[in-house]
């Protein structure tokens, strides 16, 4: 089975491991991810102001590419999932956005929200099935107490995202269970880590992440998992290290026994120059 896959900018650079573990795990489960040609960065945040059209166009391009590929569009990064889902919703419901975006893009076939955007976790749950994943697990993560950290972008606003119960989500907990570990439910799992404000005010991000980690630890979590590179950054930066933080895909990779087989993910780009030179974006392909 092949799905169109939108990795997004960070998964090509700083979060290459999120991407790598995700792809390899799916490959082991019999699913191939196919990137559309020449996708562009989704913009990372959804443009809320209703008069903004241009900032939604790159998302529309990716959505239209998936439509032309006759496949749902699979996302992994929470921010990409948020932006693509909401722009898709605009293209379905908001005539103003739909008309103007199509006028700008002049696609061979105009786009009006036909694509189904699904998150990696939804792919696991709805297309593969957590029970089948449980069967494929080679190294059950027995005894590990793992807290799901959802953050904001996957869940809210729930009317558009329709990802899970926004106040008491369970998809990541079900995922953790499927891998043989014990999910730890804690109240702060859907509260904000501080997001991009960390660039302007590190203290605020520190306060938020500390509250989250403290709450998770108080409920017995020894690890946290997330799907979002920015959440990962904030959590890691401000954690004292007692709670381990990893990506959802790394957990899956380990449980499927792929680390023994394939080893660690390649290192991410080291320097600003490296990113500027664009080397990182192509490195996985080069390595193959």
């Amino acid at each position: 089975m092949t799905y169109t896959y939108y990795p997004g900018c960070t998964l090509k650079t700083k979060a290459q491991d999120l991407d790598h573990y995700g792809r390899e795990s799916l490959k082991a489960l019999g699913i191939t991810l196919e990137e559309p040609d020449e996708w562009q960065c989704c913009g990372a945040v959804y443009p809320i102001a209703r008069d903004e059209i241009a900032t939604k166009l790159s998302a529309v391009r990716a959505l239209a590419a998936a439509r032309d590929n006759a496949s749902p569009l699979v996302t992994l990064c929470s921010a990409c999932h948020h932006v693509l889902t909401r722009v898709n919703d605009d293209m379905r419901r908001d005539e103003n956005v739909r008309t103007k975006a199509n006028n700008y893009l002049k696609l061979p076939v105009p786009y009006s929200g036909e694509t189904e955007v699904i998150h990696y976790l939804q792919l696991l749950r709805d297309k593969i099935g957590f029970d089948n994943i449980a069967k494929a697990v080679k190294n059950p993560l027995k005894g590990r107490k793992i807290g799901a950290y959802y953050g904001c972008l996957l869940l809210r606003p729930s009317k558009v995202m329709q990802f899970d119960d926004p106040e008491n989500p369970h998809i990541i907990e079900d995922f953790i269970k499927a891998l043989g570990a014990t999910p730890v439910i804690y109240g702060m799992r859907n509260e904000c880590c501080g997001g991009y404000v960390t660039l302007k005010d590190e203290a605020q991000a520190a306060e938020n992440t500390n509250r989250i980690i403290k709450n998770a630890a108080s409920k017995g979590a020894e690890e946290l998992i997330t799907a979002c590179p920015l959440c990962m950054y904030n959590l890691r930066k401000h954690s004292d290290g007692t709670v381990k933080i990893s990506y959802i895909t790394e957990l899956l990779y380990d449980a499927l026994g792929l680390r023994e087989e394939l080893g660690d993910a390649p290192e991410a780009c080291e320097t600003a120059d490296g990113i500027a030179a664009g080397c990182a974006c192509k490195r996985t392909e080069k390595a193959e």
Binding site: A44, Y196, K200
Partner: protein
């Protein structure tokens, strides 16, 4: 193009798509806001300020740049007011002014030099949320 304060408030309502009159002043937005402590004005206040057409100070004082866009207020508002959308509208209006940007490319090298782990997503988000 000079606008009166009231006209600006109308524009904010328009581009936020938010019906601030629906607010019943329960304060749940402020009760839920993770950036409350960093703000001079708080979510329930700026909804009311927009409703009253008193927005000049909001456009200037930088309160709205503290919003994390976490959408908790949108999710939990019992009246469907969507305070985060009001914030976004105020923000873009402030940023569209000459010199309204809060984040410039020149800042990036220093940031990365200080912390090489900053993900691209954070930079792109900051560019999108802080400048026009």
């Amino acid at each position: 193009m000079h606008q009166t304060e009231k006209e600006t408030a109308e524009l904010i309502k328009q581009i936020s798509g938010s019906d601030v009159k629906k607010c019943m002043k329960c304060g749940k937005c402020s009760a839920t806001c993770p950036a409350y402590g960093e703000m001079k004005f708080h979510p329930h206040q700026f909804v009311t300020m927009v409703a009253h057409g008193k927005v000049d100070e909001l456009l200037r004082d930088g309160t709205v740049t503290r919003c994390l866009s976490c959408f908790a207020c949108v999710e939990r508002c019992p009246r469907g007011v969507e305070p985060a959308n009001v914030v976004a509208a105020i923000r873009v209006l402030a940023e569209r002014e000459q010199g309204g940007s809060n984040f410039v490319p020149d800042e990036v090298p220093a940031l990365i030099a200080a912390d090489n782990e900053i993900p691209q997503q954070a930079l792109v988000s900051a560019f999108r949320r802080y400048r026009k």
